[in-house]
Subunit: 318 residues, 2 copies
């Protein structure tokens, strides 16, 4: 059994696919883990039952008495003021009082809620590519596009825990309608499904395995397929405009990009850096660096713990 | 002679048209003022000579011994870290060491430099339409489009003093080239000269006085001219996309809009509020209010003083 001393945070990572939990120590290590598939099509109580199940697994650990707080990172939108979540892909939860429900299970422990983009940012700032940076944008480019901000050395959550939602700023005000209700959002152009859609529309055809994921498009782009290359170039342009807008609005020194689409490597990063030179034109914005994220699939748990520790002043943070 | 007690800040407002200065007290009153036209086409030393002249006028006042700091708001770009300014419309000043030059004239007083958009924001937050708001965007829509941010109850200047540059975020990534080097910037669509240009291109003709200002376009729009109305509608759309991007990225509760173009009143504000509903679609962003600025042409001076007071902790600020 682990005997690492010190305070722990119980972290919850709520997504449309899985609900994960872990006990996290002050070094960012995951001491105990639990995970179940999200019953995303079920009613509110059933989804909450899964949260209770993973929490119960943690509470059965001998480490549990050292837990000082619960940190929750959830798919958005969230409302940290109200303590509620309304994950787009979990229709049974609309304004669901997750903080109150979790608080009722962890008597006396403070519970901190942030959006999943903010959680990923807390993780990259604590242990990843944004470490030591006073002003940073961290983003996940995957099925959707999310993000979070570090400003003046601290996580900037915004009052409701949603700040850094770069996927839903419009960079093409006359562009295609986005499911969010706006037009020309970064996500509408740069998410994995939109990269694949655009490549297919331009004539790219998948291989014999029928894989039409953004990863398959990246493979084709690497082999020189013009439709695949053009689709990644367009995604890079939208991401560049969004990163440049952020640098121009709040001043950031680095943009950290993770998520499945970032797995395309230089297929994405090379045109992204090139277009960023076009859009981040003002002197104070032009130096912004682009770096790949360092933390993998545990970023949500590590970040949920870090966000709670930062808000509550645990572990000497921030 | 005034006998208001307490500490004063000497404020400088550096623009392409005029260089203004004032002694400002803790109630935001301007006790002594000085102003000269900017010799914008002259060499660096001549422009600095005008700054020295207005400072000398202030220093001759009986109030001068109560001055505790100098606050400078300057047309940008500025670099608060280096203490330099490079106002676009003053070509003789490129990387000009304004903070060092002013410091040399005000022995021992701290000198704080911010961009003019940040200064205007400090003024509206202290005494104007953003008063009491913890998270706000303030903007000036005029010959250019500038702005600044209040986040978590404090002025967010960014490391170099340029944060809030909403005029140069791209909301139309394939749009017209902007003099800044990017494309489709908010300023390229919504500034006064661009409103006038677009109205003329669409067939609007000025009256017998030949006035082709945005104010004249606003007058024609008020009388129902379709080209004038369409041009304001397009400007409103770009401003709405920019405000929505800001609300989505950092969470703001209010956007304060001032400057000459805001003088068009509901000709601008009605379509702006309508389009904002389209672009600020996510729940946490959709409540953002739009308000006209309250402070007039003294905002630059009041705000330069407020920014210095906030950074230095004078007047019990923030």
């Amino acid at each position: 059994m682990h005997t690492v001393p010190g305070e722990l945070v119980a972290a919850l990572d709520i997504g449309g696919t899985k609900i994960a939990a872990a006990l996290v120590d002050g070094g960012g290590r995951l001491l105990v883990r639990a995970q179940q598939p999200t019953p995303a099509r079920e009613d509110a109580a059933t989804v909450m039952g899964t949260v209770v199940a993973v929490l119960d697994e943690l509470a059965a650990s001998a480490h549990w008495p050292r837990v000082r707080a619960v940190g929750i990172g959830s798919a958005g939108p969230v409302d940290a003021l109200a303590g509620t979540v309304s994950p787009v892909n979990v229709p049974g939860w609309r304004g669901f009082p997750l903080v109150a429900e979790v608080s009722g299970r962890v008597a006396g422990l403070p519970v901190v809620l942030v959006g999943d983009g903010v959680a990923m940012t807390a993780a990259e700032h604590w242990q990843g590519a944004a470490r030591g940076r006073a002003n940073a944008l961290c983003m996940v480019v995957s099925t959707g596009v999310g993000g979070g901000l570090v400003l003046d050395g601290r996580l900037h959550t915004g009052p409701t825990g949603n700040a850094g939602h770069i996927g839903h700023i419009s960079v093409d005000l006359d562009g295609d309608p986005c499911p969010c209700g706006a037009r020309g959002c970064v996500e509408r152009i740069a998410s994995g499904p939109n990269i694949a859609r655009r490549a297919l529309e331009a004539g790219w055809r998948p291989g014999p395995d029928g894989d039409t994921s953004a990863a398959a498009v990246a493979g084709a782009a690497g082999a020189g397929d013009p439709a695949a290359l053009a689709s990644f170039a367009r995604a890079a342009q939208a991401l560049a405009a969004g990163i440049a807008a952020t640098a121009t609005l709040v001043e950031i020194e680095v943009a950290v990009v993770g998520g499945g689409v970032a797995g395309a490597g230089e297929i994405l990063f090379a045109p992204l850096r090139e277009r960023l030179r076009d859009y981040a034109a003002l002197s104070f914005a032009s130096g912004v660096e682009v770096l790949p994220a360092r933390l993998g699939s545990d970023a949500g748990l590590v970040g949920a713990a870090a966000a709670a520790a930062e808000e509550l002043g645990l572990w000497g943070r921030p």
